[in-house]
């Protein structure tokens, strides 16, 4: 057996010298780079309620699709991930393909919002946003793209109001919240969620972020930043990195009662999959999701494992169910170069076939 470590002092010296060079140049770059901006597409506010804002993206292209698409994002991060920058924007690509795109921005809940429930979010905010878009276009139904937790909300919404959803697209959306590889779910099973929410009120964003980081603590808390030296001398890549950092840590607090129900019913009870879920007293029957469904998941997703998403197939009532497997992770599916090449064209093609 050969010696598996062949560290040659001369080569290590060279490695250290290069590391020092990158470090020094990188520090200079970090000092020169100031605040990074996000948002590739102009948008206008078309509806507001409490802290929620409903935006319509302005397109420089001709809108060829009559049925608009409403993006329902998760509560746990800011929705501008779908329109991060010019070369990393699902929205921009959908606009270019001729779609009319709307987006719900949930805002930043404060303590006055701690009693917002999933009923408020799904039967309230989402329903009224859909109404607003339908009304603007004179249509009875629109297309919905639900992302991550927003996808779970969209499935609930579509089962409650199927007549208002023409096509449903879910992206990195958890459906089976108790797959064996779901670390987050594993951790919360023995937590007293009532005590947790009653104590904290709204769940602080810092706590949520730290929880996500501890899923892969050595990679996300340290290796990632050691690896940063590799791109420090490239201003464009450094800005991309900082933009991502900004997004990752720009997180809203979670409204207490909505968090309570989401953790108890979805994570602990797994009721979206198993049944027995009700939102605001209305039973969720996922067999009523009878419209065409496109389910997009990421193969290396450590937050929402593919098996958690693929469970959707078994619970919806539609006969028109399509899966799209993306080679990437939970974040890469929005922002990687591959995502820009594959995801928006797939959505566009799938929607066009269904009118």
């Amino acid at each position: 057996m050969i010696n598996p470590v062949q560290l040659n002092p001369e080569r290590v010296t060279e490695e250290l010298s290069k590391f020092g060079e990158k470090l020094a140049k990188g520090m200079q770059s970090l000092k020169e780079v100031r605040d990074v901006h996000y948002g590739a597409s102009d948008k206008e506010e078309v509806y507001r309620e409490d802290k929620l804002r409903l935006y319509r993206f302005k397109s420089a292209h001709k809108t060829t699709e009559k049925v608009p698409l409403l993006i329902v994002y998760a509560l746990v991060n800011r929705p501008y991930m779908v329109d991060l920058q010019d070369d990393r924007s699902i929205v921009k690509n959908l606009l270019a393909a001729g779609h009319d795109v709307y987006l719900i921005d949930w805002g930043y809940p404060d303590q006055s919002d701690r009693f917002l429930t999933l009923d408020d979010y799904i039967n309230g905010y989402i329903r009224r946003c859909v109404q607003a878009v339908c009304k603007r276009h004179g249509l009875p139904s629109i297309n919905i793209l639900g992302i991550c937790q927003g996808g779970a909300f969209s499935i609930c919404y579509a089962s409650l109001y199927p007549e208002t959803v023409k096509n449903l697209i879910t992206m990195v959306t958890p459906v089976d919240f108790q797959t064996p590889d779901n670390m987050l779910s594993h951790w919360v099973q023995d937590m007293d969620i009532d005590l947790f929410v009653d104590t904290l009120g709204n769940v602080p964003a810092d706590l949520m972020n730290w929880c996500y980081l501890t899923l892969k603590p050595f990679r996300l808390l340290q290796q990632k930043y050691v690896g940063l030296t590799d791109i420090l001398d490239n201003k464009a890549e450094l800005e991309n990195f900082l933009r991502m950092e900004k997004w990752i840590f720009d997180s809203p607090d979670q409204a207490g009662d909505a968090f309570r129900q989401f953790l108890k019913d979805f994570y602990q009870g797994n009721k979206l999959l198993k049944g027995g879920l009700s939102i605001g007293g209305k039973a969720i029957d996922t067999r009523r999701v009878s419209m065409p469904v496109l389910n997009i998941f990421a193969e290396q997703d450590h937050l929402v494992p593919p098996t958690a998403s693929k469970a959707l197939k078994g619970i919806v009532g539609t006969k028109d169910y399509t899966e799209l497997s993306f080679k990437g992770g939970h974040i890469g599916i929005y922002v990687s170069g591959r995502a820009q090449r594959e995801v928006p064209p797939a959505i566009d093609s799938w929607l066009r076939k269904r009118g």
Partner: protein, 343 residues
């Protein structure tokens, strides 16, 4: 590897700081910085001279890089201090483990998680207890004798609270110890995994040829071991108990803060919650009424903003500090709207 190679390693350990700084020299000279030797040099490098006016991401970067370089220092010291360059997997593992130090013991995830809870009503325990005596300390004093006794008299409620807090804090510490024991188990298991990864490389006739590659391999081993522990039933129970017990202590502290605040006529969290709960209920009732009006064709429930309120791209970036200002602004706007509606 012969004796010459060993001498090279000893020389490298003596000069690794120079090697690092040889790459950084150009910048250091431009900035007028003079870095001292490696003993205090790392602190110079990361403690201010290169790290002035940096943001959070930069701080994390500096922290990661500093820990990595500290490991390089210890690791090269380990190799240089031996009489021979490691030849077997076990020898390499010994050197890696000995060099690990705080870099690899740091970041007990949950401990840091609780420490990092800095939002308005979720201050870390350490923060709270900096101004107070540790309740466990009372256990060796007068409260200890009260813990097992029934409380009575004019201060009965205070006694009950103190007993509950002391008991809760002790239980929390027990849970923290159980959690840390699992983290230690993961760390020990990581060494076994690293040995296996090195063995697999050797079998495949592959070799690690750089410090970064060795570090990356170590991270892989740590993550694999951590994931296994974190997905175990023991961890699930320990995690749940740790969180629950901390919440119980936190709640007791909140109760006390409420009591003290109430004595000074300050509005309390409970009072605000009561108001917010009523507001939420009123909002629901108002929207239900709007729905009924809409359904009856008696008016639009929807408040559609003017079409001409574009939000240009790339101007939506706000510093983190602007979050609250935005919240205030929208709250003001909502209040105005509510007034218009009521009128």
């Amino acid at each position: 590897m012969g004796p010459d190679m060993m001498k090279d390693w000893q020389a490298l350990h003596e000069q690794w700081w120079n090697a690092l700084m040889s790459g950084a020299t150009e910048f250091a000279e431009k900035g007028g910085h003079v870095f001292s030797g490696k003993s205090s040099g790392l602190n110079d490098l990361f403690g201010g001279k290169l790290g002035e006016d940096v943001g959070a991401a930069t701080e994390r970067f500096l922290s990661g890089s500093k820990q990595f370089l500290e490991w390089v220092d210890r690791f090269s010291g380990q190799i240089a201090g031996r009489h021979a360059v490691p030849k077997s997997i076990d020898d390499w593992l010994d050197a890696i483990k000995a060099a690990a130090g705080p870099m690899f013991e740091a970041n007990n995830p949950l401990t840091n998680l609780f420490k990092s809870m800095a939002s308005s009503d979720a201050k870390g325990f350490e923060h709270f207890f900096t101004g107070l005596s540790n309740p466990v300390d009372h256990l060796s004093g007068e409260v200890k004798s009260l813990l097992g006794l029934p409380a009575f008299g004019f201060t009965r409620e205070r006694q009950v609270w103190q007993q509950a807090l002391a008991k809760g804090w002790m239980e929390y510490q027990e849970s923290l110890a159980a959690y840390n024991a699992l983290m230690l188990k993961a760390s020990q298991d990581a060494n076994t995994r690293l040995a296996k990864k090195l063995g697999d490389l050797a079998k495949g006739k592959q070799q690690v040829e750089s410090l970064r590659a060795l570090y990356d391999l170590w991270v892989d081993a740590q993550e694999d071991a951590y994931a296994d522990v974190a997905l175990s039933s023991d961890f699930r129970a320990a995690y749940g108990e740790l969180v629950n017990r901390q919440m119980r202590v936190r709640k007791l502290i909140q109760d006390e803060v409420e009591r003290i605040g109430g004595q000074f006529g300050m509005p309390t969290r409970s009072e605000l919650n009561s108001v917010h709960q009523r507001m939420a209920e009123m909002r629901r009732q108002m929207r239900a009424l709007e729905d009924r009006l809409e359904a009856a064709g008696l008016g639009s429930a929807l408040v559609v903003a003017p079409a001409a309120s574009p939000v240009p791209a790339k101007k939506s970036s706000k510093p983190a500090a602007a979050k609250k200002a935005v919240g205030k602004s929208s709250a003001k706007s909502d209040a105005s709207k509510a007034r218009r509606r009521l009128a």
